[in-house]
């Protein structure tokens, strides 16, 4: 990915992320979240993570945000009068957010970042991910399946009348 393309996409990502947190209409926030997630999938493609990029689109942009939209529509949320907290809290939070970003970026510049090595052949492909997932990370994989089952049962039990 060329640096120019990275900067352009990064600017778009930050703009849509700001739209998610700032816009007053929740449906527009959800649409901006979809845009952010798809742009992040493009970043993943540039980082040789093809499987993870498409999983991001299928799971996050294609299922989770649809769930958000369903809930917004079921609750019939309109644009609300008081979308944000009082000015004092907004000012403090913005200062805090900027401070956090500056802190992390400064820490990164001082840290010893490893030099980017050439990734091995087959990096980011399904076979490589599956090899790790079913050998080294087998226990978390099985536990995740139980977690998903519990989540499904819990969500259905909570949402029933």
């Amino acid at each position: 990915m060329s640096p120019l393309l990275f900067l352009l996409l990064a600017a778009l990502t930050v703009a849509s992320a700001l739209t998610v947190v700032v816009h007053r209409n929740p449906v527009h926030s959800a649409c901006a979240l979809v845009v952010t997630l798809c742009l992040l999938a493009v970043f993943f493609l540039g980082l040789d993570a093809q499987l993870v990029a498409f999983l991001q689109v299928i799971v996050y942009a294609g299922a989770i945000v649809v769930l958000f939209l369903f809930v917004i529509m079921l609750l019939n949320l309109q644009v609300e009068a008081r979308a944000m907290a009082g000015a004092l809290l907004v000012g403090t939070a913005t200062a805090g957010g900027v401070a956090l970003a500056v802190l992390v970026v400064t820490a990164l510049r001082r840290a010893a970042v490893p030099a980017a090595a050439n990734p091995p052949a087959g990096f980011g492909e399904t076979a490589a991910l599956a090899r790790q997932l079913f050998t080294v990370y087998l226990l978390p994989f099985e536990l995740t399946s139980i977690l998903l089952l519990v989540a499904i049962v819990g969500a259905v039990a909570l949402a029933k009348k």
């Binding site: 992320a17 929740p26 992040l40 900027v98 510049r109 970042v113 090899r131 790790q132 990370y137 998903l148």
Partner: protein
């Protein structure tokens, strides 16, 4: 020439900070949830960038698990919001802050 690792981590930090901002300043509980998803995605970007940089697939496996856990959490969280809305008729966190009334 690929962009250096620091750029990806910097973008991830900015997105995480925007997510934190969203959680702190918005009053609608669903938008707060969306900001939490934004934070999780910023961390995913970090993991994938570091996986590429160190040449190990472990970062991408962790991203896989983060996505799964985020999906489970979003489902259960939205079910909780639905049932609270049925009781209180509001999605404003200021009014959902106490369990009484």
């Amino acid at each position: 020439m690929t962009p250096p690792l620091a750029w990806y981590l910097g973008l991830s930090a900015v997105l995480f900070a925007i997510g934190v901002l969203g959680v702190l300043i918005r009053r609608n509980v669903i938008v707060i949830f969306m900001a939490i998803e934004l934070m999780l995605n910023a961390v995913n970007l970090s993991f994938v960038a570091l996986a590429r940089s160190t040449g190990s697939m472990d970062g991408q496996v962790i991203v896989f698990f983060v996505m799964t856990v985020a999906a489970a959490e979003a489902a259960v969280g939205l079910a909780i919001i639905l049932s609270m809305f049925r009781n209180r008729e509001t999605t404003n966190v200021d009014e959902l802050a106490t369990l009484r009334w």
